[in-house]
């Protein structure tokens, strides 16, 4: 591939992001901005902004790569990423908007009236955010390596520097409009190549490298699904979405709970449309580029496919578009996460000043950068799936029980979050070591959500019941606030 295409696309997206960041200095986000915006932001804009921030490297590159690598089992990832917003709609969207909380630690403190519960929640949010940024940086490393030939660390470092500078300078997320634009950019960057490639392939040139029966064997088809892994993955993705730190804050720009629900329904429509495109590219890859199906390399499928099928200037344009979309995905998701993390870190540890926020933004970027440089990507969709499993085991039980069960106490919540965190963390980090020697338990360690989430819920409920201090004094008033419609 011609490296000039890669450089042009990457530098272009980086420049636009930096410009937006510096422009954001003047319109920087304050608490009151949210209140002002809340009266003007329409649900469609809001939903586009949520989509723009949510669609990460895992969605943009990882889904197609995994379809190429594993077949129809990978089709469950976009179903789970989308279905997560259904659970969000059912259990948290309207109540969380009405709670008045900006962040999950704010919610915990308001509901449980406990500084310790707040601290544990903040710690989990920071860990989740860090491990969610790592695959974004790995995606950037892969993209830069494949498209320009530079070493892997260059891409991770470039994205980390851009994000840290932009967020510390003004906060890229200052304007809902920017994130909304990101969604439509990512959608276009996949939809246009997909349409072009389908037209080319439909003409019969070039011919498929594998006949359909070999590209889509029944052994990798929907009939052969691994029940435990699929169920556990679904538990992780459906429930993990609720606790993602950069998702909640977006709901705040909805004027009320009813609008929060409407926004979520629109998000579901936007995600459903978006995921059709990586799915089609993954299926095309199985027939036209089966040689790319190698662990760690398959994620580059979307970047390489246009040039393979349409050599020449048209292919170059399509490739540049896809690279720009991929970089937009890394930048928007990472900066959204860094803003959320920096907010939590600066408020809980550094006193909430602007200077504290800037220091926190840099810390929030350096830690995942070091992790990304020290580890090999083992597939973007899979790594993000594990972060969802951790989130589902820690923050999700606390959030859902906090909203719907008046019996939840701060001790119960802390015990449940720690149980879920230790169990799922141990399974994720230690799993690969143990699984090699005891293959029988490998699925349970590689996809832990199906047992860690129920255990976290049981511990939360049991400890809350045994907690002699009972529920906080303001629980009834707070639950009323969550569920009674505004007006």
């Amino acid at each position: 591939m011609n490296p000039a295409i890669g450089y042009t696309a990457i530098v272009g997206v980086a420049l636009v992001s930096a410009l937006i960041g510096f422009y954001g200095l003047r319109v920087s986000r304050t608490t009151s901005d949210f209140y002002v915006a809340s009266r003007t932001v329409r649900p469609w804009w809001n939903a586009s902004a949520i989509g723009g921030e949510y669609l990460s490297a895992a969605s943009f590159l990882g889904v197609a790569g995994l379809i190429l690598l594993t077949g129809s089992a990978a089709l469950w990832f976009p179903i789970g990423y989308t279905g997560g917003y259904l659970m969000l709609l059912l259990f948290v969207a309207a109540p969380l908007r009405r709670s008045g909380a900006y962040t999950i630690p704010d919610f915990t403190e308001a509901r449980l009236e406990s500084q310790w519960a707040r601290r544990v929640t903040s710690l989990l949010v920071i860990v989740i955010g860090w491990f969610y940024i790592v695959p974004q940086l790995q995606g950037a490393a892969l993209t830069v390596r494949i498209t320009t030939g530079l070493p892997s660390w260059a891409g991770a470092l470039a994205v980390a520097v851009i994000v840290a500078v932009v967020v510390a300078a003004g906060g890229m997320r200052s304007i809902t409009f920017v994130q909304a634009f990101q969604f439509w950019l990512k959608l276009t960057a996949l939809a246009v190549p997909v349409v072009a490639l389908l037209l080319v392939v439909g003409g019969g040139e070039p011919p498929a490298q594998l006949p359909p029966a070999e590209a889509f064997p029944a052994s990798a088809g929907p009939g052969e699904l691994d029940v435990y892994r699929t169920v556990s993955l679904m538990v992780a993705l459906l429930l993990g979405t609720l606790g993602l730190p950069h998702v909640l804050v977006r709901f705040y720009t909805n004027p009320d709970g009813v609008a929060a629900r409407r926004t979520t329904v629109i998000v579901l429509v936007l995600l459903s449309v978006f995921y059709l495109f990586p799915t089609i590219l993954g299926l095309l890859g199985r027939a036209f580029a089966p040689d790319l199906a190698a662990s760690g390399e398959a994620d580059a499928l979307i970047l390489l496919l246009p040039d393979r099928l349409v050599p020449g200037p048209l292919g170059d344009v399509l490739t540049a578009l896809v690279i720009a979309g991929a970089f937009a995905a890394f930048l928007s998701t990472s900066s959204g996460l860094v803003v959320s993390l920096a907010g939590v870190i600066s408020q809980d540890l550094l006193g909430g000043s602007v200077r504290g926020f800037r220091i926190a933004a840099i810390v929030s970027t350096i830690v995942p950068l070091l992790v990304a440089l020290a580890t090999e990507s083992s597939g973007l969709a899979g790594s993000v799936g594990l972060v969802f499993a951790f989130t589902a085991s820690t923050l999700c039980p606390m959030l859902i029980l906090g909203i719907w069960w008046r019996g939840l106490t701060s001790r119960g919540a802390i015990a449940g979050m720690l149980t879920g965190g230790v169990l799922s963390g141990a399974a994720i980090l230690g799993g690969p070591l143990v699984a090699a020697s005891v293959p029988a338990i490998a699925p349970f360690l590689e996809q832990p959500a199906a047992w860690t989430v129920p255990l976290a819920v049981i511990v939360t409920v049991a400890v809350s019941r045994l907690d002699r201090r009972g529920t906080p004094a303001g629980t009834d008033a707070f639950l009323t606030r969550l569920h009674v419609p505004e007006r």
């Binding site: 129809s72 179903i79 709609l89 059912l90 509901r111 629900r261 959320s340 907010g343 707070f478 569920h483």
Partner: protein, 118 residues
């Protein structure tokens, strides 16, 4: 630049007070009953929809797996079973979401008319 809520966010919860039962204020008792029944009906609705979605998804997957010939019937070169799994669940998700949104708004309207007719 503030990115999180003021520390005293919890204080705002008193904006719409709910008096718990056992006070000497009968109107407050009734209001609390209405709120509890609203929370109960919203929770039942959410759980019903979630379980319904799960059951529908499982049935859909069973159909794909058990109906013979879906792996050998091709649509634009892709087996129908793959096409169904890749694209079939999204319409279900959106339908379920729209139905839930309407039902939740109905629950809230019912609560509102009860609370106002007091």
């Amino acid at each position: 630049m503030r990115v999180t809520a003021p520390r005293s966010a919890g204080g705002a919860a008193s904006a719409r007070p709910l008096r718990s039962s056992g006070t000497d204020d009968p109107a407050g008792d009734i209001a609390a009953v209405y709120v509890r029944s609203l929370i109960g009906s919203q929770l039942r609705l959410a759980v019903t929809v979630a379980v319904g979605f799960a059951v529908a998804t499982v049935l859909f997957v069973l159909v794909i797996a058990l109906v013979p010939g879906l792996d050998d019937t091709y649509l634009a070169g892709v087996p129908v079973s793959w096409v169904l799994l890749g694209a079939g669940i999204y319409p279900l998700v959106i339908t379920v979401a729209v139905l839930y949104q309407r039902a939740a708004a109905r629950n809230e309207a019912r609560y509102r008319s009860l609370a106002e007719h007091e």
